[in-house]
């Protein structure tokens, strides 16, 4: 044991109260962590102790997130201003203060103008699609590097529930995967584990839009005998039963057809970009005209059954499910338009809860 004293090197002067260097408590906490990890994985997104604890934590930290979003939001668009202010400081010294004030004021007004435009667009979208929805505001991005999520400032207290789709003024952006009392987490369509039933607007070719780690979207399961062109708009098909039909998702940027492949490899650029303090709509319920018609479901069935060799693969993927990613979902309806994966069922049961 090191002795405290003048001649002893600084790094060895500190009294150790734990003779084993913390080994015992380390073992206890490691075991506790493993137990929590196992229980948490088994619990999944369903109701339970960890979900409750996480919801409570989200509620507690919502004000901090809100402040953080407010503080960092102005810096997202002011990077160039600081660079420009470094030019010829001597001549501009007396104008600098005035310039800064005007720049700040201008940025503030531009932000207000953009906010007004977004709100108008949201209202337009709400009116155009007759959406039953609640407005909310993004207050934070993803906390970890693993998932593409945003946090919005509305929770169960505002009638938000797990599974509800979320849109901004450009179109669908994601789906609620977790709810606290005053905030909710939205998994974005660009998340690697997200998949949304989608179709090419012009040709009505149906597929599944998947997110990826690099932020691009891929429209999969579109058969090569369908017509898809670069520049086509991709919209929700409504077949998953979560998103309303016809909401814009993105624009086709490349279409590749590999020799012998059954499906195109289509890359889609998302229409929406999510930034802090932007307004979004949470769609609380779907009306009948937002759901796919029997004809569209039959068409999807027909498209699906045309390539029977790939049917099982497609049936596994065809759903609006962006809240699991564990690959354990089971399809209750094997058609391409089949509603309700296991994940969805869980979500809906949570909604009811």
């Amino acid at each position: 044991m090191p002795q405290k004293g003048g001649a002893t090197p600084p790094s060895t002067r500190f009294r150790r109260t734990d003779a084993d260097g913390g080994l015992r408590i380390c073992i206890v906490l490691v075991v506790l962590s493993l137990v929590m990890f196992t229980a948490s994985v088994r619990e999944g997104d369903g109701p339970g102790v960890f979900t409750t604890a996480r919801g409570a934590w989200m509620t507690i930290t919502t004000p901090i997130r809100w402040v953080g979003g407010a503080v960092t939001a102005p810096f997202q668009g002011l990077g160039n201003i600081f660079a420009n202010l470094t030019a010829d400081q001597e001549r501009l010294s007396e104008l600098k203060a005035e310039n800064e004030r005007l720049v700040a004021r201008n940025a503030e007004l531009e932000e207000s103008e953009q906010t007004a435009r977004r709100l108008e667009s949201l209202l337009g979208l709400q009116s155009l699609y007759n959406l039953q929805s609640t407005g909310a505001r993004i207050i934070s991005g993803s906390t970890d590097s693993w998932s593409s999520t945003v946090t919005i400032d509305k929770g169960t207290a505002a009638g938000i529930a797990v599974g509800m789709p979320v849109t901004d003024s450009n179109g669908a952006i994601g789906q609620i995967i977790r709810c606290g009392a005053a905030s909710s987490t939205v998994r974005l369509v660009t998340d690697e584990n997200s998949s949304v039933s989608a179709m090419v607007q012009s040709s009505r070719a149906q597929g599944v839009l998947r997110g990826s780690v690099d932020g691009t979207l891929h429209l999969t399961l579109v058969r090569t005998d369908q017509n898809v062109e670069v520049g086509d708009t991709v919209v929700t098909s409504g077949l998953g039963g979560v998103f309303p039909k016809g909401l814009p998702l993105g624009t086709v940027t490349s279409v590749e057809r590999t020799s012998g492949a059954l499906y195109y490899d289509i890359e889609v650029e998302p229409l929406s970009s999510t930034e802090s303090f932007e307004e979004v709509l949470v769609i609380t319920s779907l009306t009948e005209d937002q759901k796919p018609t029997a004809e569209e479901v039959a068409q999807a069935d027909k498209q699906d059954s045309a390539s029977s060799g790939a049917k099982s693969t497609k049936s596994d993927d065809s759903s609006d499910s962006n809240d699991s990613g564990d690959g354990s979902a089971e399809q209750t309806d094997e058609s391409a338009g089949g509603d309700g994966t296991e994940d969805e069922s869980e979500d809906q049961s949570q909604d009811e809860g």
Partner: protein, 189 residues
């Protein structure tokens, strides 16, 4: 004269914890490098284990990991598991390394941060959250590691250059303090 001020030590560590918590919840989500985001839980665990180590470091690592887990969408317990082990390994050697050896402590924290980040993302990969190991390493682990290291540097710099704070644990004490052999002691923490 031996100076013992465990209340001040606790207060300073609580302040550090509060700063890291606010940074983790409010700032980290809004500053990203690719898919990576800074892990201030890891920063706090690193500071605690490099300064004090032992039981205290291990406990801080566990709590920091637990709070990180609660803030994310991943499984609860994974980061607390990794930070508990990481804090134990880093804190098992001599204490007060930030003040004694700034570069060495940065190097050691970098190793800890890289291993913890890599292990976390590989574990998430193993539970089926990704399909490509290269994506896990290049697009998630490395940006997270870089931002976390960047987040740790100011704390390490301030602690290594500050005098009089309990967090310095006597690092670079004043001449008068040195002549009297004055040192803070975190042994009671």
């Amino acid at each position: 004269m031996q100076v013992k001020d465990s209340n001040r030590n606790r207060r300073d560590f609580l302040t550090l914890a509060a700063i890291c918590l606010v940074l983790q919840v409010a700032v980290a989500p809004n500053i990203a490098l690719g898919n990576g985001r800074a892990n201030f839980g890891l920063v706090f665990a690193g500071v605690a284990s490099l300064l004090v180590g032992g039981q205290f470091g291990v406990f801080c690592g566990f709590l920091a990991g637990l709070i990180f887990d609660l803030s994310t969408t991943g499984p609860i317990g994974l980061m607390s598991f990794l930070l508990t082990i990481g804090s134990y390994v880093v804190g098992i050697e001599a204490r007060n390394r930030i003040a004694d050896d700034f570069v060495g402590s940065m190097r050691q924290f970098a190793q800890m941060a890289f291993i913890v980040s890599l292990a976390y993302h590989v574990a998430m990969f193993l539970v089926g959250e990704a399909t490509s190991v290269m994506d896990v390493v290049l697009l998630r682990t490395l940006p997270t590691f870089a931002l976390t290291l960047l987040g740790f540097a100011p704390f390490a710099y301030v602690i290594s250059h500050a005098t009089g704070s309990a967090l310095t644990l006597g690092g670079k004490p004043s001449k008068s303090a040195r002549s009297h052999g004055s040192r803070y002691d975190l042994g009671n923490l």
